[in-house]
């Protein structure tokens, strides 16, 4: 992201290089209304969970992340707590000196822009479908109904830089039936029209904190949504700032039809969840400008350090070089235990310049939260550098051809899929998934005690206090009770990281220098 001197009143998108009308990669520059920051495209926005980039505190976002913005989901902010079911979501009352409460509430660095949508990425499918006037959302306290009117009111109160109006989506893998797909288009068409009808036109003085609307383009075939697209192009174009695209396959139709020339000039944000960098390149090749990448947070949770670059390294002639390069490496593997190498060779991110593989491996194996933080900083840096590489390639003379050449090489050099990762993931929270009957526990217990009595002590641990121990001693309780009270105290308050008995056998304890086999017994 770069900073220019001028602050535009409204969003502008300038295409620096493109080859209309064909679907082809393009180089652009997005300037947001009321902001100095400029986002060079193709680029990506970080996906947040409950307003935070997972495992990355806002100071680290400011210092170490090169993303242009943050994707936020309204459903992450409007749960109804059990103890206060009628609560008005506190975020609506957040005072904001800068006129953007969503941004201020999440303590985001000032330079980042916010994109607000109703649902998380990826969204948990709702058991109940949407209605003509509302969609089902999933909050941390359960499913709720969000009406089109409430959503618009929320957007206007929270003032993101970019808002995506509600779309009638199923959030399921299966392609909807044509009947359902038609209804999706009709409803979305209604909702987008209503979105603009319910917003007053800008007055004579420009809004200092304008909201740019990116209209949803549905994951259904062109033949089912051409009427909706025509409406966007003919009636609503003057108030549209961009398109939020749920399936990149629509792009060839969108660009080939001369009737939508004005839509083609809009920036395109992919909310189509490309599963790998190969898919990202394909979408760029079809003319996508901006990306949200659910795989990015997911690989960090899986203990994977991304290792790809764009353009990809030149194939080496050496015989022992692997035929196909991996997109990432599993940092949980014990092979990294003593490696002082950076996560990816030549990487300039905070993690790679200050730490090494051995530390990240140790943190993952010890389940220390910092492991996921360091992976996030690295993986976001790899993706930011990837997009910078794409832009550099496109900026060359005959950039589109150079990009296509580099893309073909990337496909040839890298593994088609991201590695799965063998490490334990961070705790899954209720709002991450919908539990299905009969499945096991998502999270392993953090630690376990030696015996049954221990488990009992653990259950009591929350209430254990030093006073209990003193009281037990003062009351002349038997030693065993004092010892038990002390044990509870140790478990509950004395030790920061729960100490599990060594999960190693005697040989390993000796090997690690921890103790020796006792020959006297």
């Amino acid at each position: 992201m770069t900073t220019d001197g001028d602050v535009p009143a409204a969003m502008t998108f300038e295409l620096l290089k493109s080859a209309p009308p064909a679907a082809a990669a393009r180089l652009g520059r997005l300037a947001l209304g009321g902001r100095k920051s400029v986002i060079d495209t193709p680029n990506y926005f970080a996906i947040t969970s409950r307003g935070v980039v997972p495992h990355v505190s806002p100071d680290n976002v400011a210092r170490h992340l090169q993303t242009g913005g943050a994707y936020m989901a309204l459903e992450d902010f409007i749960e109804r707590p059990q103890q206060n079911l009628s609560r008005r979501p506190p975020i609506y009352d957040h005072p904001s000196a800068h006129g953007r409460p969503l941004h201020s509430f999440a303590a985001l660095p000032p330079s980042l822009i916010t994109v607000l949508s109703a649902r998380r990425l990826p969204a948990v499918p709702a058991p109940l479908g949407n209605s003509n006037r509302s969609v089902s959302i999933f909050t941390s306290t359960g499913f709720q109904v969000l009406t089109t009117k409430d959503y618009l009111a929320a957007v206007q109160a929270l003032r993101p830089d970019i808002a995506i109006p509600l779309a009638d989506l199923t959030h399921k893998e299966l392609t909807p039936t044509s009947k359902r797909a038609l209804r999706m288009t009709e409803r979305t068409d209604d909702w987008v029209r209503e979105w603009f009808a319910d917003q007053p036109d800008a007055g004579p003085s420009p809004d200092p904190n304008p909201i740019a609307t990116f209209a949803p383009v549905l994951p259904v075939s062109y033949s089912l949504q051409w009427e909706y697209l025509e409406r966007l192009s003919e009636d609503l174009i003057s108030r549209l700032s961009g398109l939020a695209i749920y399936d990149a396959d629509i792009l060839p139709d969108l660009t080939s039809s001369t009737s939508y020339a004005n839509l083609a000039a809009l920036p395109r944000l992919s909310v189509a969840a490309p599963p790998s960098p190969h898919h990202v390149l394909r979408q760029i090749s079809l003319g996508m400008d901006l990306f949200t990448l659910p795989f990015l947070n997911a690989v960090s949770d899986a203990g994977i350090a991304l290792t790809f670059t764009f353009p990809s390294p030149s194939p080496t002639a050496s015989a022992d070089a692997p035929a196909v390069l991996p997109l990432g490496i599993d940092m949980s593997s014990t092979e990294h235990q003593t490696s002082l190498a950076p996560l990816a060779p030549g990487c300039t991110c905070y993690t790679c310049t200050h730490h090494h593989r051995a530390y990240v491996q140790h943190l993952l194996s010890a389940r220390e939260m910092l492991g996921w933080t360091l992976l996030q900083l690295h993986n976001h840096a790899v993706v930011a550098a990837f997009f910078a590489g794409v832009r550099q390639t496109l900026a060359q003379e005959d950039g589109v051809a150079a990009f296509e050449h580099a893309r073909a090489r990337f496909h040839a050099v890298y593994d088609p899929e991201l590695p799965a990762g063998t490490g334990e993931r961070p705790r899954a929270r209720g709002y991450h998934f919908k539990s299905q009957g009969g499945e096991g526990k998502r999270n392993k217990p953090g630690w376990s005690k030696l015996d049954e009595a221990g488990a009992e002590a653990e259950a009591k641990a929350a209430g254990a206090r030093a006073e209990d121990v003193a009281a037990a001693a003062a009351a002349g309780a038997p030693d065993a009770d004092v010892a038990d009270a002390l044990q509870r105290l140790l478990v509950s308050g004395g030790i920061d990281t729960p100490v599990s008995p060594p999960d190693a056998d005697a040989d390993e304890l000796c090997h690690k220098g921890f103790a020796e086999v006792d020959k006297q017994q």
Binding site: D59, H94, A107, H355, A366, M369, D496, V517
Partner: protein, 416 residues
Amino acid sequence: MWAARRMASTTSASSAALTFELVAKCSTTRARASILTLPHGTVNLPLFMPVATQASLKGLTPEQLEDTGCRLCLNNTYHLGLRPGQEVLDAVGGAHKLQGWNHNILTDSGGFQMVSLLKLATITEEGVRFLSPHDGTPMLLTPEHSMSLQNSIGSDIMMQLDDVLVTTSPDAARMREAMERSVRWLDRCIAAHKRPDVQNLFCIIQGGLDLEMRRECCREMVARDTPGIAIGGLSGGEAKDDFCRVVACCTELLPELKPRYVMGIGYPEDLVVCVALGADMFDCVWPTRTARFGNAVTKFGVINLKREMYAGDFRPIEEDCGCPCCRPIEQEGAMGVTRAFVHHNAAKETVSAHLLTLHNVWYQLNLMREAREAVIADKFPAFAHEFFDRLYPDRTSYPSWAVTALRGVGIDLLKP
């Protein structure tokens, strides 16, 4: 010239890998301000040391920890001995290299966790005997093992393996045995310590709540002339009055030009009282652990941000706090985090725990910075008054143990 040298010799002392310089003493209490120079740089005392148990401070990057002003943190020998283990530590080149921390590290002996957590552990003269929970093999952890591991960790301050007993144990004979054995084990630790030129070994005063036994232990330990001295076996559930008596009894006997470390202390009141009693260094997991339960430590007391009342509270975690979370976002390196935002993600996203950990560590370090400045300005009694005044609604609610302990060193909290 002669006078200057004489001055220097009365205010500073050096050993192979440590220099202690006394900067100021409170004219009322026993509080002191000093500078401790260790192999990885200088730290100002009094000092709170946050606990990075497994070579990581609970989600904070070493860079974030450094920015709080921390220059000395703890690692636990027991945990590092199990993960990543001695072989990896040797290959990597020690704990500083492992965690990318170029400042000082203190490690405990590893014995405390063994004894307190493995029910099958018994202590004999050779060391801690326990059955491997994995396969039941009898195992032995000796002072020599502890030294060898701490040498591999490369900590700037290592702790001796001691025979820890609950201070509240009524068995005086066993208490004496533990105290005397700790002295013998110190001798074994000194003999086994392979790098005294770059790592400091501290002794640990034992003796339970028996002041006579503590005095005897002080004499024995001081005679062994370790570069620093710890007061151990406390914060195990004894009455606070007893705890303060033990600390006061020991600091009275300890040499002036050595750092004094009270192990396992971390509540703000305990820190302020122990500084008044003449102690310099403290460590505790409480501030970082309580952060993960949604608790913020503030000068007005601990608040639990998980409570519903904070959902719409848009004030900073602590008003006028100088930590990166609480300062307004317009300032350099600041975030302008609100209580509402911490509440929003408490027990949901790890970031909330990171923010509270950052705030709490900053609070503890800053409390000791303020205490130090007060000692240097010779205003420590006023500092103690103000501290308790902010923390409690009125004087009648001051904890009696703190009032008693401070009265013993010349501060009457109940009088202005």
